[in-house]
């Protein structure tokens, strides 16, 4: 029987996809896992892979067509097989991958040694043991992306060892982090209601500070001189310092969830990156636990792939805080718009040498202005100010980061 190829939801928010280009022609042999086509989602260009073995019988949609998720875009089947009547356009759910029937016969036909990964389209179709499911749910692992070593590719406990590195769906990934849900007090509810009526769906206020970056500059110069491989930018330092400050001010490291505030214990910092046609915020996960060198490397790698539209959904969704820096464009200061459900975003301007009064004397120092946009339903003026104070202290005395 022929198997449908459908437009899959390749990101959590994807409702439709544009089939950029078919990678297989009608009549081409395909195996499970082969790339059939490139699909552009709301965020990135991703690969649509075959969920069955056989021959690509028909392309139902043409290159460049946009179709809703779950609609049939093609058919896979045995050579010469005909597709069902009316099978050209009817929307249908993604079919589960079927393993080829294995005839137990002659010893000359060995079974495949390595189990194939279970189909990725939805966890309920993945074969996994109950214990593996529990662990995956808690750690936010996508069972579909894990090769099962149990009978018939079933994912078992052992397969999840060391599987943390490659979490999948964004919501699931953040689910792996530890958080505390705080119920809304009557006062918080009232504050939320009044402010929303007054200013719009996210009642934002802004706090601006000027930071002395002289010592940060010295530290950076010293580090760069010491190790030419370890390039890093001031923005990497700001990400690292923000992460540190967030661990001390969990109220800022939170999500507004309408009926509650979710305070995260893990810190995942989104970094705004300008790309053609817009912007995307790849995430530095657990930025509070990473070294400056790790952050610098990750930012560069993620930004590169972001510009090439090659980010996977889990790489740009699920941040707990965001940093946006327009210093490289010569912007002195600006206000950034909060990316809900996050409750704050830091807008960073350029570093500029200016005359300032220090110790009663006029000095020329490197200064930088930062503005924190705060969702007032969660972050009050004082909370935001305390966070900024810590952040300023970190940046003005970078050694504090390793203290």
């Amino acid at each position: 029987m022929a198997t449908k190829v459908v437009m899959e939801a390749l990101s959590p928010t994807m409702e439709e996809g544009r089939l950029v280009e078919w990678k297989k022609a009608e009549g081409d042999a395909v195996a499970t896992g082969d790339v059939l086509a490139e699909v552009e989602t709301d965020k990135a260009v991703m690969e649509l892979v075959a969920r069955a073995d056989g021959v690509l019988l028909k392309r139902v949609v043409a290159d460049g067509d946009t179709v809703p998720v779950a609609q049939v875009v093609g058919w896979i089947g045995a050579e010469g097989e005909t597709i069902p009547e009316g099978g050209g356009t009817a929307p249908a759910a993604a079919p589960p991958a079927k393993e080829k029937d294995k005839a137990e016969a002659a010893p000359s036909a060995p079974e495949p040694a390595a189990p194939a990964p279970a189909p990725a389209a939805g966890n309920d179709r993945v074969k996994a043991s109950p214990v593996a499911r529990k662990i995956a749910a808690e750690r936010g692992l996508d069972l579909g992306s894990i090769a099962g070593s149990g009978p018939d590719g079933r994912v078992i406990m052992r397969d999840l060892e060391g599987a943390t590195a490659k979490p999948a769906a964004a919501a699931a990934t953040i689910g792996a982090s530890v958080f505390t849900d705080l119920p809304l007090s009557q006062m918080r509810k009232t504050i939320a209601k009044r402010l929303v009526q007054s200013i719009g769906p996210i009642p934002t206020f802004y706090l601006t500070v000027e930071v002395d970056m002289e010592r940060a500059h010295e530290a950076r110069e010293a580090l760069l001189a010491r190790d030419d491989k370890g390039k890093f930018s001031f923005n990497d330092l700001i990400i690292r310092a923000s992460a540190e400050a967030l661990t001390r001010h969990p109220f800022v490291n939170a999500w507004w969830m309408d009926d509650k505030i979710r305070q995260w214990q893990d810190v995942h910092v989104g970094v705004a990156v300008a790309v053609d046609e817009g912007l995307i915020t790849p995430i530095i996960r657990h930025a509070d636990r990473k070294t400056l060198r790790e952050i610098a490397g990750e930012v560069r790698e993620l930004a590169g792939r972001a510009r090439a539209k090659k980010l996977a959904p889990e790489e740009y969704t699920g941040a707990t805080f965001t940093v946006s820096n327009l210093g490289m464009f010569g912007i002195d200061d600006f206000t950034a718009i909060i990316n809900p459900p996050e409750v704050a975003i830091l807008a960073v301007g350029r570093i500029e040498q200016k005359p300032v009064v220090a110790n009663g004397e006029l000095e020329i120092r490197r200064r930088m202005r930062m503005t924190l946009s705060c969702d007032h339903r969660v972050v009050d003026g004082a909370t935001g100010a305390q966070f900024l104070k810590t952040l300023v202290e970190m940046l003005e005395n970078p050694l504090a980061l390793v203290w």
Partner: protein, 466 residues
């Protein structure tokens, strides 16, 4: 027959070897089994099967003695005749061996009588005949009973005996000492106590059934003492004085010595593997430092390409069901398949004394040693309706689960039917069900197995019937 060629030659027709031959044949290979004695090996002929027949006789005898009156059954004097029970056990063993012979015929496996010796990586000598293997040779030579010669306990078959002789005694000895209180020692203690012997059970480790969970050992030790079996655990036999019709054993514990005199002593402290005189050296098959044949756990291949080893010779646990699984596995490997790895952590252990002890996975002690965070659930059969109805309230179900995810770390059952009940938990553990899945399965009422669901619930802090 002279010189023949097969795809696979299996040396040893016990519970590892003959299933390997069947599976090989099913997969289209020509297979030969070389067996010097009867098909079925120790298990069928002088192990698992005849002891279970004798344990059945023993249980029946105890049941009549204990329960007849209150169940409205009138009996005269009840006495046991070990010789008669022994003859029945022989019949059962022979039937099983014949069954194995039938299976060989049915699956077109060639059975060659004689002692097989590895002559090269591809040939086996049986007497003057040379058999050639096109694909593989499988060593499944098993193990045998052993004494403790350094202290004078050489098995002589008369006063110092092993299970091999015990299974053929015409009468129960008046006084029997048993050295070793693992499964074999405990089962024979049960049998001979039931048939009227004065039994002394001696174990060097601190408790009887030393590989089982301590709570299980305790229940059996108490039950045995109640039945009049003298249980000495944590003692060492330091000297044996073997006479023509009796034996004196000097045992030592905490610096104190004691002498036990018996008509016979049954050696049940470990078994020796049959690795000698089968040509291992000549062909270069390597042994482990513990004397087992070294194998690659994934393929069961020895250090010599094309030569495999399964069952007792391939390493512990020396259990028939472990050997059988290896037999099936090795046949599939030889046929070019890639079977799933054998899950050695899920090999169950059963002692068929009364009540029986069955377990899978870790004991509570082992779990703690390994630093696993656990919760323990227990349910005693005294709170189980079916157990009361059948007067089998001894024992309990104990489930050790992971504190966080509820996976079954270990499961232990003491019950008249523990050997049958444990499989629910083996299935659960092998498939990584949590205690919640065990409870979600609706257990029929009234059954002993309800105690399993209750123990699962108890580990979650919500047992219903206690």
């Amino acid at each position: 027959m002279a010189n023949q060629t097969f795809d696979v030659i299996i040396i040893g027709g016990g519970p590892a070897g003959y299933p390997a031959a069947i599976r090989a044949s099913q997969l289209g290979l020509s297979a030969a089994v070389v067996e010097r004695d009867k098909l079925g090996g120790v298990c069928v002929n002088i192990g698992c099967i005849p002891t279970k027949a004798l344990l059945h006789s023993a249980a029946l005898l105890n049941s009549i003695r204990k329960d007849a009156k209150e169940n409205g059954i009138t009996t005269g004097d009840v006495s046991g005749d070990y010789g008669v029970a022994m003859k029945r056990s022989r019949k059962v063993a022979d039937q099983n061996s014949k069954g194995a012979e039938f299976l060989m015929k049915k699956n077109k496996v060639t059975v060659i009588k004689g002692t097989g010796v590895l002559a090269s990586a591809t040939t086996v000598k049986v007497g003057d005949d040379v058999l050639t293997a096109k694909k593989a040779i499988v060593l499944a030579t098993g193990s045998r009973t052993k004494g403790i010669p350094p202290i004078g306990l050489d098995i002589d078959g008369k006063v110092v005996i092993s299970s091999d002789e015990a299974l053929f005694l015409e009468a129960a000895p008046k006084r029997l000492a048993i050295v070793g209180a693992g499964a074999v020692g405990c089962e024979f203690a049960d049998i001979f106590n039931s048939f009227g012997s004065e039994v002394t059970l001696i174990e060097a480790l601190p408790r009887i059934l030393p590989v089982e969970d301590a709570e299980c050992s305790d229940v059996i030790a108490k039950s045995y003492k109640k039945r009049g079996i003298a249980v000495h655990a944590g003692v060492k036999v330091v000297k044996a004085d073997v006479k023509s019709d009796s034996v004196s054993l000097t045992i030592e514990t905490g610096g104190k010595t004691e002498t036990i005199t018996a008509d016979k002593v049954l050696m049940a402290a470990g078994r020796a593997v049959n690795t000698e005189k089968i040509g291992l050296d000549a062909v270069g098959v390597k042994l482990t430092d513990r004397g087992f044949i070294a194998v690659d756990p994934a393929t069961l291949q020895t250090s010599v390409k094309g030569v495999y080893a399964i069952g007792d010779v391939a390493g512990p646990p020396m259990l028939a069901h472990k050997g059988t699984r290896e037999g099936i596995h090795v046949a599939e490997v030889i046929a070019g398949h890639h079977p799933k790895a054998i899950d050695y952590s899920n090999v169950p252990s059963v002692t068929y004394c009364h009540p029986e002890v069955a377990s899978v996975g870790l004991t509570e002690e082992q779990a703690k040693e390994q630093g696993i965070e656990i919760k323990v659930g227990r349910f005693p059969f005294s709170a189980n309706g079916r157990a009361r109805a059948s007067n089998e309230t001894d024992g309990f179900v104990k489930i050790i689960r992971g504190a966080k995810y509820g996976e079954i770390v270990g499961a232990h059952i003491v019950s008249g039917h523990a050997s049958e009940m444990i499989h629910e938990l083996i299935l659960a553990r092998t498939n990584e069900y949590t205690v919640e899945e065990v409870d979600l399965a609706i257990h029929a009422h009234p059954t002993l197995s309800e105690a399993i669901a209750e123990a699962a619930l108890d580990s979650l802090g919500r047992a219903v019937h206690i």
